[in-house]
Symmetry: C2
Subunit: 357 residues, 2 copies
């Protein structure tokens, strides 16, 4: 059973994954994730190669764990947390810990061997977003769990071990420290100014224009003022809402377009970089919060020089966000057909791309 442990100084929880335990000689680079559609466990027709599905949006008459699906959610085969058991919260002197209870799921975004969400049609992306929402709503009924983190790893440098486009959901009995810090900071601002800080940021970014990447009826996309990473990009809904899972239908419709555009722009401008995106959303056990605002943070993995930044939280960003936003605004994405086929010209593996470090 994995264990959740709390750093007694800063309050950060980490997962100690006993069952994935490694010996020193296990730290070798993984082989390239260059599986062909024939060997890919996420492609249609290979359903038996994943754990049984939790959710699938399927063609009428198709059967669970067989072909005929459009978006499919399965448990992670190597989960960081386990669903069964009790939390067993306990202490050991100064330390706090609990059992590594939680959910770790994989959202397979297409039955075909697309390597990028940006090559999916907008309707396809919308169904991925509905799957995000449906899974959060299902899991928040489990009162052992308090937070759901949706994220995507793309490319070897982004931590992806399979190239077939997919997202992940980790649902935990604790609030991850980045969300906790955001909530704390946003609450302080709310106490002082009486407004949501994210709403204020959106307003100022729209007025200033220089860091805006895309502006749609429901979303503002910009490179944040204090970007930690080159081409860091945030997608923030214009209407105040603390919980992603409360997203209304018109916003889902718009976000399908926004993600298609923004990820397409990143791929155009940066030659299909490795990247991560993370959906920051409020914990389950809070009702709608006036001070917190869900959003998506996209972090391209361009610089290998994380160096001391990892440990210090002190980042040096060589690309002013105003410049990054300009490059992304100028990158034009053609609206592809709704279910574009994976192009054979995109067959390079992540490892051979110059930007994946």
């Amino acid at each position: 059973m994995p264990e959740l442990r709390k750093d007694p100084i800063v309050g950060r929880w980490v997962i100690i994954a006993h069952e994935r335990a490694k010996r020193p000689h296990d730290f070798r680079p993984d082989p390239p994730a260059a599986e062909s559609p024939e060997s890919c466990p996420f492609c249609e027709g290979s359903e038996e190669r994943t754990p049984p599905e939790i959710l699938a949006y399927r063609e009428f008459g198709s059967r669970p764990n067989g072909p005929g699906w459009r978006v499919r959610v399965v448990p992670n085969r190597f989960p960081a947390l386990k669903v069964e058991g009790s939390l067993q919260k306990r202490g050991d002197g100064i330390y706090d810990m609990m059992a590594g209870i939680g959910a770790h799921e994989v959202i397979i975004e297409s039955p075909r061997h697309h390597k990028s969400m940006a090559t999916l049609g907008e309707d396809n992306i919308r169904e991925v977003l509905w799957a995000y929402r449906d899974r959060l709503n299902d899991l928040k009924r489990d009162n052992r769990l308090v937070h759901g983190m949706l994220f995507k790893n793309v490319g070897a440098a982004g931590g992806a071990s399979l190239e077939h486009t997919h997202s992940q959901l980790i649902v935990t009995p604790i609030v991850p420290i980045s969300v906790w810090e955001e909530m704390t900071g946003a609450l302080e601002f709310f106490h002082y100014r009486g407004r949501c800080i994210y709403c204020d940021i959106v307003q100022q970014e729209l007025a200033g224009e220089k860091r805006i990447v895309l502006d749609t009826p429901h979303f503002t996309v910009f490179c944040p003022f204090a970007s930690r990473f080159p081409f860091e990009t945030w997608i923030v809904p214009k209407a105040h809402s603390s919980h992603f899972e409360e997203i209304p239908k018109p916003a889902v419709d718009d976000l399908g377009h926004v993600l298609h555009q923004v990820l397409g722009k990143l791929e155009m401008a940066l030659d299909s970089p490795a990247y991560n995106y993370i959906v920051h959303t409020a914990p389950f056990d809070h009702a709608g919060l006036p001070h917190y605002h869900w959003h998506i943070e996209i972090i391209p993995r361009l610089t290998r020089v994380a160096g001391f930044e990892w440990g210090s939280g002190f980042y040096i960003n060589p690309v002013p966000p105003e410049d990054a936003a300009g490059f992304l605004r100028d990158a034009e994405v053609t609206a592809g057909p709704h279910n574009q086929e994976p192009s054979p010209t995109h067959a390079r593996t992540p490892q051979t791309q110059p930007l994946n470090r």
Copy 2:
């Protein structure tokens, strides 16, 4: 002029390095840092290839910026911050910023082409520590500056661009968020318990033994309970002290031995991994703090799967710290001669080492 910008939500300051500004196509992997001693700007005899030295411990009669030094400190040729100018603290609506004033120095740890601090003699390491202290004491007299962060990047994956063993010092007009968070958390504990949390941790680790790597008269070395990274290792002084630069002579003597041992153990156990270490120390503008405790955090860069952890602060560590400490305890380091020559068998470049991802 670089700019310091504050994230308005979480309060994290970042350096936006305008002058290092890059265009999208600049993000290519750097060529391997496999310079030979002939081409290395840090080797004795190449002093003219660095900016003029700030400090050097030299043989009697040798001249500045010429041969005859043992440890040498120079300005970084591509500094993240600039020494000259005023802070120009200002706001723009919701945002806060100031000029990127500060110091960015390089501590060259040996005149010879050693690739690892672990192959230096203990006396040599002690002189590196004295240089750390002398530079902090000099820079803290500049009342624009409030914090000095000493760190070391080793290997390409650690962010090193030169392999000749060196450390860096970044002195800033703000407190890096990781130190700020530690100070805040430690102060909360102090208010509640009336003791330094680091002192309590050292006591509990020594009593429990299972995470101890090394125990010397002045230092406790252990893999922390909530390690974020495999083989993360902390070096904590036993005597309470908030400021590294107040380290007494007997502790420097001991720390030379401790660093030699611990870095040697990491290299033995993990086949010369890329790593970073960071000296966490209190800001200049506080006198001795009863609640904060300087220490060194060593982070081997073994897992390429930083994935979403970078953005979420939520870490999955596949090596329980108890196991890591066991491997490190068992790794035996032979006490080398005090000025061991770089061995030709260590001539592999960081890029060709399997663990540097």
